[in-house]
């Protein structure tokens, strides 16, 4: 995915194995090592589960390479986060496993969660 097309897919619970495969592929193409790749797959999975459980049964994933980082955006049509700081364990884990996370939406406008994972060379330089 180095400079390639972004990964874009809609998902429901039945798509989780395919989603993990696609995210792992994209992370490998972006140059993440195996350990970081597995962490990214887990973080995106946790966000996808949030969308499935609380966002109407599914959501959308947009994964791209931006300025030397993998950027994953998971969005859904659910009620959004009333209090992002008090959100569940999945979001907490995604935060732990990534280099940055942004949460948007709420008040019945759906949730958009974006996480960033720096690629190795970029991470080493910062």
């Amino acid at each position: 995915m180095t400079g390639g097309a972004p990964l874009q897919m809609r998902f429901t619970g039945a798509d989780l194995p395919r989603l993990r495969l696609r995210v792992g592929d994209a992370a490998g193409a972006a140059g993440l090592d195996e350990s970081r790749r597995e962490e990214l797959v887990l973080a995106v999975y946790e966000l996808a589960c949030n969308a499935i459980l609380h966002g109407g049964g599914g959501g959308s994933l947009l994964l791209s390479l931006v300025d030397g980082s993998v950027r994953c955006q998971v969005s859904d049509d659910g009620p959004g986060f009333a209090d992002a700081e008090a959100a569940g364990g999945g979001l907490w884990l995604a935060r732990q496993l990534s280099d940055g996370i942004e949460i948007e939406g709420g008040a019945d406008n759906g949730a958009v969660v974006t996480l960033m994972v720096r690629c190795r060379s970029n991470a080493a330089a910062t």
């Binding site: 619970g13 194995p17 993990r20 592929d25 999975y45 589960c49 364990g89 884990l93």
Partner: protein, 296 residues
Amino acid sequence: MKGYLVRADAHTIAVERMGLGDHAFAHYADDDIRWEVPAVFANQGVSRGEKVIVMMDPGCSADDACERLAAFAGGVDDARARGQLVFSSMRELISPEKSFTARRQLDRLRQETDLAGQEGFAGLRTIIDMAWVQDLGMDVEDVMHREKNADSLFESRRYAEICAYDRRRFDPAVVEEMRASHPVALLERPGDLQAHHAPGELYLIGDADMATGGIFRAAVSLAFDAPPGRQALVDLTRLCFLSAGCAGDLLRLIGQTANVCDKVVIRCRPPQAKILLRLRVMWTGGVVLEETGDSR
């Protein structure tokens, strides 16, 4: 006969854990599901710089097969365009011979492996849908003999093969004999979870996630249902994916066994250990993590 359970045992793994040198049995009984294992197998081969030859059901065209693989995994069309992913058939492989002999087939697969190396690929993977057995009018006993005597193909670790059996076409006894006699047996689908129990030991295989959480919890509970003795083993090394939820469930259920078991060893790979360590607040006394580099 599509509904019967194909059991898991010590040589069962998920397709994601396959590598060069593996000779695997796969099975299906659904015309959509049948593409999932080949898609992951092909995808992983392509990403590792290996050549992949797909010998599908003779009733399926190359374009249809390509489309079905692409629906599950990415990069299929590009790999096909550059000759890394090839669609063929057993009939084509043994051509110009009209009838199958094990020697002819094994020789041709060795040639294809050598050719893949000459073309610059790291090895060769083939996916063989066993529908060719009926297509070429073969005696199943002859095919089973070939399947049990192909070890020399895999010794160089430059070749891997999946033999996919449609449970609607083959007698259950044949399917079970093939499952048991292949060095590796695959889960039916990527994303599946199966458990293998032995006295005092639990082996989990596949993906532990939201979809399989019920199976995961039932398997762990069953393992500790009968007092396993002073020490128990939970082996996660054949898991391809462990969600935080299932990791938490595992620690919670182990915590409930404190009165029947002095020590529980969780054998796992480093990424799984990381997840479990992040949940250390749930740890109870007697839990020991045993990290292994086992790639299965």
